[in-house]
Amino acid sequence: MEAKTLIAKRVAQEMVDGDLVNLGIGLPTLVTNYLPEGVRVFFQSENGLIGMQALPEKAAAFEDLTDAGGTPASFIPGAAAFDSVASFGFIRGGHLDVTVLGGLQVDEGGQLANWMVPGKMVPGMGGAMDLVTGAKKVIVAMTHTAKGSPKIIKKCNLPLTSVRRVDLIVTEMAVIEPSDAGLVLKELAPGVSLDEVKAATEAELLVPDDLKEMALAA
């Protein structure tokens, strides 16, 4: 299974029926494809819609309805539209149950850096700082390494997205839960060994007795 697919499938298991969810551009949007049976969530797009869904094949695209990446989108019956002030009121105000974002680095304190590489890549934070600060649950969905170089490290050296500790890190190798004590390794992907995960991770991992295999039932 491709890394992105595996990550999206595992993240989808975290969704609870009725949740209000915001998915970042890229990998996180794949989560919509793998929601568990019977789980219906409302997707918020920060450009002003709750109840967004992907544009069905062959449906007409138009500029007045896009996702936060500018890609034409569609909406479910019961959707609601609003302006940017209201949209970020939902996000900061504690009304958003889950946000799923990509990451450049996460450290032992569970802090995320995902919006710039000084001097190289300065895309801007967009809505990421508000999302990580305000959402009830923050899930980082990312590949475990960047071309072999660890992304889960002792201390972020890229500018932080927020000082808030994220709630869960899902990679193609493992599921990791930041806690007061440090990063707890909760699950290993099928066919991945503990040693392999440790070798691909710079941060110290706490390994509990009940380490499980990643749950991917969809």
């Binding site: 450009n47 500029e63 801007g124």
Partner: protein, 217 residues
């Protein structure tokens, strides 16, 4: 008391060096005709306040391509390599603002507030040089209000008074910018007679709109 005017006439009032808020999100809900006219009239040294600069050749990206922008206040420029290139070459000064903070700063500017307090950005580079206050045990940044000489708005529909309605994700920053611009120029996809938009369905009140440009005008 018609506010209707031609695109060229509305844009002529915007002097080089003006600060201009422009609605839109990756091009969606941007006033495309007004942007094209800014480029055609060769405006220079503008300060643009907007969520993003779309992509090269699209929406606000056209102003970047044309070299019309001296300073930019935005939340995201990641999908426009031209903006990033000009920022790194020091041709455009860019202030990056978290999107929710940008929306609230514009709202504050338009509604007479001295600023807003937000937890977004606390402890990050965004907090540098800003005052932090503690309220009920939580830290917040003091973010200042944003105003502009002009706000360029896109609406789905306008009546002849300038009462506006928006459509779906084309709403985005338009309603708040309509309050924060000293002079507001609205571009509507259609202009209808007064009375056609019921009071309960007016989203931006016509008294805020100074000039109205329709797609047919």
């Amino acid at each position: 008391m018609s506010k209707l005017c031609s695109c060229s006439c509305a844009v002529e009032s915007i002097a080089d060096g003006s600060s201009v808020m422009i609605g839109g999100f990756m091009g969606g809900g941007s006033p495309h005709r007004l942007i094209d006219e800014l480029v055609r009239q060769g405006k220079k040294d503008l300060t643009i306040i907007a969520n993003d600069t779309a992509r090269p050749g699209i929406g606000i990206g056209k102003l970047i391509d044309a070299g019309a922008v001296k300073r930019l206040v935005a939340s995201h420029i990641g999908l426009n390599p031209e903006t990033q290139k000009r920022m790194i070459a020091n041709e455009i000064e860019v202030e990056l603002v978290p999107q929710g903070t940008l929306a609230e700063r514009i709202r504050a500017g338009g509604t007479g507030l001295g600023g807003v307090l937000t937890a977004t950005g606390v402890g990050t580079v965004v907090a540098e040089g800003k005052q932090t206050v503690e309220i009920e045990g939580e830290d917040y940044l003091v973010e200042t209000p944003l105003k502009a000489d002009f706000a360029l708005i896109h609406a789905l529909r306008s009546d002849m008074f300038g009462n506006l309605q928006y459509l779906l994700t084309s709403r985005n920053f338009n309603p708040s910018m309509a309050l924060a611009g000293e002079t507001v120029i609205a571009e509507a996809s259609e202009v209808v007679p007064v009375g056609m938009i019921p009071p309960d369905h007016v989203e931006t009140v016509g008294v805020l709109v100074d000039h109205l440009v329709s797609w047919e005008a």
